[in-house]
């Protein structure tokens, strides 16, 4: 798309990334940390889409779009895995386990 400037979206994306990063490190609640990871991911995807829009041409650049699709799928998988792991850890923490290693 000629002449338009989409960098504002890329800036929004990096802002999301930084906010997500801060939250992931600082939040105590595990679920919120996973959500923070998702926010970081969304920020990255927004940067990709903005780059795709910025490229001159009759249509946006399809390669970043395809990359984002891949990224979203990977992100969903990651979230599912992290959630299952969090649940296991919390279940293990609430039951007494003999012979725990440090």
């Amino acid at each position: 798309m000629p002449d338009a400037d989409y960098r504002i979206y890329a800036l929004a994306g990096v802002a999301l990334f930084a906010i997500g990063f801060y939250s992931m490190l600082v939040q105590a609640h595990l679920l919120r940390r996973i959500m923070a990871l998702n926010v970081m991911g969304s920020g990255v995807f927004l940067v990709y889409i903005a780059l795709g829009a910025q490229t001159p041409g009759p249509i946006p650049d399809p390669v970043p779009h395809a990359m984002v699709l891949t990224g979203i799928v990977v992100s969903v998988c990651a979230t599912g895995l992290a959630l299952a792991l969090v649940d296991r850890v919390q279940a293990a923490a609430s039951e007494a386990e003999p012979g725990d290693d440090a």
Partner: protein, 496 residues
């Protein structure tokens, strides 16, 4: 078989094996053995092709870069694939018996899920080492990370689950940093293909930040000081074959990607200052890791901290290979050290697994007289220790010798001091364990029986670690194919 077929077999056979191992859980162990065999053959074939014909490339789907993805096999890729295959075969054999030793439902569960996860890990590694596309590398990194985290959690203990949780957060956020870096590179250069980037990338703020992001993520995944905190608990609490896979293979993959990025894609950005920073972090890792290994009560923690230290040696490759004099010596030395460490560390973790099986614990203080129960395993540990310390003729010695020579040739004598200190400390923590193993015990303890294949694979790998020192000239010739650094190797002692 052309190189395209070899590469396709390397990637598709573990992937299909993993899917089938999930669909038919009872066939898991056979699928793993079969896949190990196929991958082994394909690796040998690819190695022959690379030796004979130089760098092998394949344009997947028929489209070349920058629109499509290219697979590439040069000396470095093939070396990594060989190391991965060696360890993979050993683990496939060891794990045939490791999980079946318990007969309860939990043990069966662990065994049933180990095989598909192990094969996914292998797929990810093979795909990673063959890829010449930095976005494709992201997908392989994620597959690797998911498999590794889940394998750690497979142990089921509270310690393992907590360690896995920490690992998953590090891994996922690191991947996102890497992915953002890839995006910035694409925005700057319009391509994500490594050779194309090498041709056209010019230093600029966007590339600096992109490379910093990617490096940050990869350094966290490779557990380089100071982002190493997640490694010791994860490697120590995972099941023994998983610990071996993690220390020997999984943490080496991000290091490999760093080499590709800094030496091939963006060499102009590797200023001496950057190289020295890598070296400094590596030195810190060597010292910090070795000192901590000395004071750990549990054997698996000693081995895990030792991994942190040994990874530091690898990062010394940056300041040493980037220089003019002796660059290739350092390059091949560092990579031989990588292979040596993989064999030695696997042998050590498998030994620790045997000891855990036999004695029921791995507290070093209480391992008196273990030699009488597991002589083969302790011998393997000793041999592996030889390679780790860097005693001739082991491959660990060959790698360190080359690095030392390179450092001396360039006048960077401070790395020499660090390496020597690291070897001394390694000797200390190895001897500490062996000292306890060899003490006399008045009342022999009754051990649990160990299947011979478990001790056998540990010994085989330890022997490899020691004997492969003789293969160093061959390895150097392999690494020369497509290497980004050139130069002679002076093995004989005198420095030009």
């Amino acid at each position: 078989m052309t190189s395209a077929w070899a590469m396709a077999w390397l990637i598709l056979s573990p992937l299909v094996g993993a899917a089938l191992a999930f669909a038919f859980p009872r066939l898991g162990r056979w699928l793993a053995l079969g896949t190990a065999g196929v991958v082994g053959l394909a690796v040998v074939r690819l190695m022959r092709l690379v030796f004979a014909g130089g760098v092998q490339t394949h344009r997947v789907s028929g489209w070349g870069a920058p629109l499509g993805i290219e697979l590439r096999a040069d000396g470095l890729s093939v070396l990594m694939l060989i190391v991965t295959a060696l360890i993979g075969v050993a683990i496939a054999l060891y794990s045939q018996r490791y999980f079946v030793s318990g007969h309860d439902d939990d043990a069966l569960h662990r065994e049933r899920y180990f095989w598909p996860l192990f094969l996914f890990l292998w797929t990810a590694l093979n795909a990673l080492y063959l890829s010449a596309d930095i976005f494709n590398l992201y997908v392989t990194l994620e597959m690797l990370g998911f498999a590794a985290v889940t394998l750690v959690a497979l142990a089921g203990t509270r310690a393992a689950l907590t360690a896995a949780l920490r690992y998953v957060f590090v891994s996922l956020s690191a991947s996102l940093f890497y992915l953002l870096g890839v995006g910035l590179v694409y925005g700057q250069c319009g391509t994500v293909d490594l050779p194309s980037l090498a041709a056209q990338a010019r230093p600029g703020p966007a590339l600096w930040v992109a490379l910093a992001l990617m490096t940050g993520g990869l350094v966290a995944k490779a557990a380089l000081f100071p982002l190493h905190g997640w490694l010791p608990p994860a490697h120590a609490n995972a099941p023994a074959p998983v610990s071996a896979l993690l220390s020997a293979l999984v943490v080496k993959a991000p290091f490999y990607i760093l080499l590709r990025l800094w030496f091939e894609a963006f060499p102009a950005l590797m200023t001496p200052a950057v190289a020295q920073v890598f070296g400094a972090l590596g030195a810190a890792a060597i010292l910090w890791g070795s000192v901590h290994a000395l004071f750990q009560p549990r054997l698996k923690l000693v081995i895990a901290y030792s991994t942190v230290a040994q990874l530091g040696y690898l990062f010394l490759l940056f300041p040493l290979a980037a220089a003019q004099e002796g660059g290739f010596m350092a390059w091949s030395g560092g990579l031989m050290l990588l292979g040596a460490h993989a064999c030695a560390k696997t042998a050590m973790f498998l030994t620790a697994g045997n000891i855990l099986h036999a004695a029921g614990h791995d507290r070093i203080e209480d391992l008196d007289g273990i030699t009488h129960i597991l002589p083969v395993s302790v011998f393997a540990f000793g041999l592996a220790g030889m390679s780790l310390i860097g005693l001739p003729p082991s491959s660990g010695f060959a790698g360190k010798w080359l690095l030392l020579n390179a450092a001396l040739a360039q006048g960077q004598w401070w790395w020499v001091a660090v390496m020597l200190l690291g070897s001394l400390l390694a000797a200390a923590y190895i001897v500490r364990m062996l000292a306890h193993a060899f003490t006399r015990v008045d009342e022999p303890k009754t051990p649990n029986p160990i299947p011979p294949v478990m001790e056998g694979t540990a010994l085989a790998l330890a022997l490899l670690a020691v004997v492969l020192g003789f293969a160093s000239p061959w390895a150097a010739e392999l690494l020369r194919v497509g290497a980004p650094v050139v130069g002679p190797i002076v093995m004989g002692g005198s420095v030009p």
